[in-house]
Symmetry: C2
Subunit: 218 residues, 2 copies
């Protein structure tokens, strides 16, 4: 028997608006028309406005008093800052994961890794990123730290709307794959500090990739 989960309307609305931002249906800098979204979702302004305030405190939306809400613009500096923090959090997740990860979890990550290698060899960018993200999520889950997951997911959400270019440099990509190879080794050896170090460095290359995308404003 499954437990029924009563969810507040404003949370539902927040999810929907978050999706719109992630999908690019609401663009950075764009003004959010309350009336239009209310009609679209079939709710009144109250829950929508509550949702927008949540998204504001999540850093996805900004609230100009008496002038409504807009989607925050990504600047190069902001993205760099975000990646730096994500790197630190990933580093911690690696260290912690080694303390308590099960053999089964490691095996699952190894399988994901092999799939990712396949996508790399066939130059399938999008599937590559999807599997890549699942690996990082698996390590995060193994760190058994809810606060860490919450923070990481928040930051991750902020930069998710960056669309990585297919032009991703061959050498960057090769480096990323090499990083992942080293990660797996450290994880299988349950060497927390080493895994942490690799992960902290791993995100450094992402920004160069992001820069070629059109979404960042400067």
């Amino acid at each position: 028997m499954e437990k029924i989960q009563p969810r507040s309307l404003y949370l539902e609305v927040a999810d929907r608006v978050r999706d719109l931002i992630e999908q690019g249906a609401l663009l950075p800098g764009e003004k959010i028309a309350e009336k239009e979204l209310c009609e679209r979702f079939g709710v009144s302004r109250t829950p929508l406005r509550e949702a927008l305030k949540v998204l504001t405190s999540e850093g996805l939306v900004e609230n100009l008093p008496n002038r409504g809400s807009r989607v925050v613009r990504l600047t190069r500096e902001g993205v760099q800052n975000t990646y730096d923090v994500m790197g630190a959090l990933e580093g911690l997740s690696g260290e912690l994961a080694c303390n308590s990860i099960s053999d089964a979890e490691i095996a699952a990550i190894r399988r994901l890794h092999q799939r990712m290698l396949g996508h790399y060899q066939r130059k399938e960018l999008k599937p590559y990123f999807q599997v890549n993200q699942r690996i990082h999520e698996a390590i995060l889950a193994a760190s058994r730290n809810e606060v860490l997951s919450e923070m990481y997911n928040n930051l991750s959400q902020r930069v998710k709307r960056i669309r990585y270019s297919v032009e991703m440099g061959e050498d960057n990509w090769a480096q990323a794959v090499a990083d992942h190879e080293a990660m797996l080794e450290a994880l299988e050896a349950r060497d927390g500090p080493k895994l942490g170090t690799i992960l902290r460095k791993h995100l450094r290359h992402k920004l160069e990739v992001a820069a070629v995308s059109g979404i960042i404003d400067d």
Copy 2:
């Protein structure tokens, strides 16, 4: 000429409620009576409820559908998790700070450090913690990363309501002071990786201290 800052009512209310929680006027696990707070602040339920939703997404309050809001309880595990993440963030702040901190900023931190040593020698616990926090804030500011500051301040807020016991172990305290001494050296040498390592380890001892306080629930 100073820029005028129009602030929304809900943000003002959020600040006030945040203070109430930090000061212990609203206790962990306590139900938040909307009506009472509205009367206290002289506002209607709309901005109060918006504020509560912001505090929920900040992790200070929880929202049970149709049953209102309560102040979240601190568990030992939750506090440990929070400190772990704060340690990682402080580590990053140290690394970054060394890249761009000015001589004047280092000198200011050195002065704070000397003041802190005085409080330590005279066993003035509360002033010690206050100066201590200002040192960490100064390093954070020197890291020039807004995202990092935002994340750190959020986590810091969550554990601020822990009242540290005067019974803080002499050896823990001595260790903390020794950590700070090493921090200053690394900072003055602008050795980012070293400062990062020290800071990442520095928070480990805090939990033992927190545990003796009454606020944590388990």
